[in-house]
């Protein structure tokens, strides 16, 4: 036999879905939200986004290249996703050096110290955000007046709706939420501006079968149920379901951060439990904590529980109980 042929075990071909392709889908899914926040905040938002992506990618490249002495992994695009998510968690117009510190914590600490993609316990972008929030509380909660191409007459700066709860009380804050909030929020992180844009991206990921919907739905359901019960008991003290679903980082977190493959459970029921935990912790922080917002903390806390959840929930095996 003159020719030589490949001999290897089955299967002999591969589904056309790579890690890179999955990450590209997440990037595509984030685009509607990025576009909406660009329209609201203008070029300053794009600048933060560009800085964040550039820092994250460069850091991962440098760490793999010079510290780990391994082939670079930036080709899988996961650093781009982290960079985008980090930027969406920052107020637009924030100084570049704060973005850099966020990237160092996200990529350097949360991701690469654990061994890179797939090894990290905590969601990198959220870890970066939480670090910045506790280190630079003033800068992280100074929300600029929307200065982009769409001007909301009712826009006011300084405090988000969630902060209004602590200032005005639950009943008055509830009144500020209308159907309009669904499309555009007032003030807040770049990624919190439009729930509809985020949900459109999430729907794209679900339809492309990049992620399963259960974690996200479980978070929404838990938040809605907990809020409805507390609101029914005392509407003066506790904000309602719609308010809690549409404000802060719930939609962004539930759609894009809690569904991160690496830091969420593998099984369907594990995902439901994970989502319940996030929703419950979030509501406890909002109602009883000193922080107005708790999505990041809720996700990080449940990230820690993932190995346990994975041990408790397995796939249904064929022919076994």
């Amino acid at each position: 036999m003159a020719e030589s042929y490949i001999v290897s075990g089955n299967p002999h071909w591969h589904a056309p879905v790579s890690t890179k392709r999955l990450m590209l889908d997440v990037i595509i899914a984030l685009c509607p939200a990025v576009i909406v926040s660009f329209l609201y905040y203008g070029w300053s938002e794009i600048l933060v986004m560009a800085e964040s992506i550039a820092f994250c990618v460069l850091l991962e490249w440098a760490i793999t290249r010079f510290l780990m002495k391994k082939p670079s992994t930036i080709g899988d695009l996961s650093a781009v996703v982290t960079g985008m998510l980090l930027a969406m968690n920052l107020p637009s117009g924030i100084s570049w050096w704060i973005v850099l510190i966020g990237a160092v914590v996200s990529i350097g600490v949360a991701k690469m110290t654990f061994g890179g993609l797939g090894q990290n316990i905590f969601n990198p972008a959220i870890t970066g955000r939480v670090f910045l929030l506790v280190s630079f509380p003033a800068q992280m909660t100074t929300w600029p007046v929307p200065s982009g191409f769409i001007h909301n007459v009712d826009a006011f700066s300084g405090a988000t709706l969630l902060q209004q709860v602590k200032i005005l009380g639950a009943a008055d804050a509830d009144a500020l939420v209308s159907l309009q909030t669904l499309f555009t929020n007032i003030g807040g992180s770049a990624g919190e501006i439009s729930a509809i844009a985020l949900l459109a991206g999430w729907l794209y990921l679900v339809c492309r079968r990049v992620i399963k919907p259960w974690i996200t739905l479980s978070i929404f359901a838990t938040v809605a149920c907990v809020a409805a019960v507390f609101h029914a008991v005392n509407p003066e003290l506790y904000t309602g379901a719609l308010f809690n679903l549409l404000t802060g980082g719930v939609v962004l977190g539930a759609c894009f951060m809690a569904t991160d493959y690496v830091t969420s459970p593998m099984s369907t029921w594990g995902g439901v439990v994970f989502g319940f935990g996030i929703g419950f912790i979030l509501m406890m922080i909002r109602y009883f904590g000193s922080y107005p917002e708790g999505m990041s903390f809720a996700i990080l806390l449940m990230n820690m529980a993932v190995p346990l959840i994975n041990m408790a929930f397995h796939q249904k095996k064929y022919g076994r109980k």
């Binding site: 490949i6 299967p11 591969h14 879905v17």
Partner: protein, 460 residues
């Protein structure tokens, strides 16, 4: 009838049935045939002819080498030239009987006419005997001796359903499809014979909905034959539907326990080609010396794709060159489909009863991906039709944790390839899981042997 499918895992590869419109052609017999003694599951057959013997087509040349084994017959008439080890498609040395072909003169008592014999004999023992004597084995892939499967051990539950597997869920393969289109009645009569042998369970002819023509033709033939207690069951296309356990779950909604046989849930599964072979054996006394094979691939134009009726013992290289030679773009040649087939290391190997294809794959199609880190996406466990967690098994295998591997049911793996097929990081999951399975099966067997020995000691 409502289309159904199995409920755990599975993948949806492009079915690539490129040779579906190519009718079955009969291959001319070459000058020399090499008949393997190991063309069935179980013990190799023992030659009963000597060098220099004259043999006729269909004459027994080897007898079963054990309980699970099968007769082998001469695929042509001629002279036994040698009995010696020869490399099979993986390159392993296996005893072969070499026959110098002089013609195609059939042995006495074999009906070689085309006449359809629809009347089913009454004598169950005679039918089983004929199936055994004609060397019929399962042609769906495992080549398990059919007479053993049709005669469950005493004490087994009664057969409640006979599933005739026409799913042909492997992409590219079209031999079962062509056989269903061209010989629907013999298949149905073969199914009816097996039904009778098993004591009359309900018979389902299971066909995936990517073959509407086959569903139609088989349905019409069934109506004409007027068999009662037999239906054509359409299935939603999903791989690996043709897996025995998956097909049983799809049709009967029952799951075969780990390590148990299908008969434990009242099921017997036989491939459509096996049903055809049973028809020929029982109605025509014709031994299993031919089968249908597809020459296909993504680097072959449709006019060069073929479905051939071959004789066992034909070198694969002969079939390849008759079909127009191996295409230059081919990087891998597979016997079977792209999901579960075996890569051919030796193209000079002889075709066997279970040969189903010569599949040529391009380098870009068959190239393994560069392995990258597991991103814990869970796609492998979503795809696994046995509900296993390949990512976990892979990790346990690397840690050498055989107890944990057994607890996580690595021994249930059916090696369908869904995990590796769907892994976005290109991790060689099945390669490692297969090794882990071998280790654990070895441990389980050793433990059983030790328990048996201990029981023997205690009885003394």
């Amino acid at each position: 009838m409502k289309k159904i499918t199995f409920s755990i895992g599975g993948v949806h590869p492009n079915d690539c049935k490129l040779a579906a419109d190519r009718p079955i052609e009969v291959l001319p017999i070459p000058e020399t045939l090499y008949v393997s003694m190991a063309q069935h599951l179980g013990a190799p057959a023992k030659p009963v002819v000597s060098v220099g013997d004259k043999v006729k087509t269909g004459q027994v040349i080897a007898e079963p080498g054990g309980f699970i084994s099968a007769f082998v017959h001469s695929p042509a008439s001629g002279t036994v030239k040698s009995i010696a080890p020869r490399a099979d498609l993986a390159g392993r040395m296996v005893p072969h009987i070499e026959i110098a072909v002089e013609g195609d003169e059939w042995a006495e008592g074999i009906d070689t006419s085309d006449a359809l014999i629809a009347e089913i004999p009454e004598d169950r023992a005679m039918m089983l005997e004929r199936i055994k004597n004609c060397g019929v084995v399962g042609l769906g892939g495992a080549t398990f001796p059919t007479h053993v499967k049709l005669n469950p051990a005493p004490g087994s539950p009664a057969a409640e359903a006979l599933l005739i597997n026409g799913a042909e869920c492997e992409p590219f393969l079209t031999s079962d499809y062509r056989l269903m289109l061209e010989s629907p009645k013999p298949i149905l009569i073969g199914a009816s014979i097996m039904q009778k042998i098993l004591g009359g369970p309900k018979c389902y002819i299971c066909i995936e909905d990517n073959k509407p023509q086959a569903i139609k033709v088989m349905g019409e033939a069934l109506e004409e034959l007027g068999f009662s207690n037999m239906v054509v069951q359409p299935l939603l296309k999903k791989y690996p539907q043709g897996g025995e356990k998956q097909l049983i779950q799809a049709v009967m909604r029952r799951e075969v326990g780990s390590g148990a046989l299908p008969i434990s849930v009242g099921a017997v599964v036989q491939n459509v080609s096996t049903a055809f072979a049973v028809y020929e054996a029982v109605q025509k006394n014709k031994p299993l010396i031919t089968n249908v094979l597809t020459v296909t691939g993504d680097c072959l134009p449709v006019e060069k794709q073929h479905n051939y009726r071959f004789r066992i013992g034909m070198p694969l290289s002969y079939i390849a060159s008759y079909a127009g030679g191996i295409p230059t773009e081919a990087a891998k040649i597979v016997s079977g489909g792209p999901m579960m087939g075996r890569a051919i290391a030796n193209i000079e190997a002889a075709a066997v009863k279970g040969s189903s294809s010569l599949l040529y794959l391009k380098e870009s199609t068959t190239r393994r991906w560069t392995e990258s880190a597991c991103i814990r996406c869970g796609r492998c466990s979503e795809a696994c039709p046995m509900g296993l967690e390949p990512f976990l098994l892979n990790r346990l295998y690397k840690g050498g944790l055989t107890d944990e591997l057994e607890k996580n049911a690595v021994q249930d793996c059916i090696e369908c390839g869904c995990c590796l097929y769907s892994c976005p990081a290109g991790i060689p999951l099945l390669d490692n899981v297969r090794q882990a399975k071998l280790q654990v099966m070895g441990i389980i067997r050793a433990r059983a042997a030790a328990a048996k020995a201990a029981a023997g000691q205690a009885n003394k």
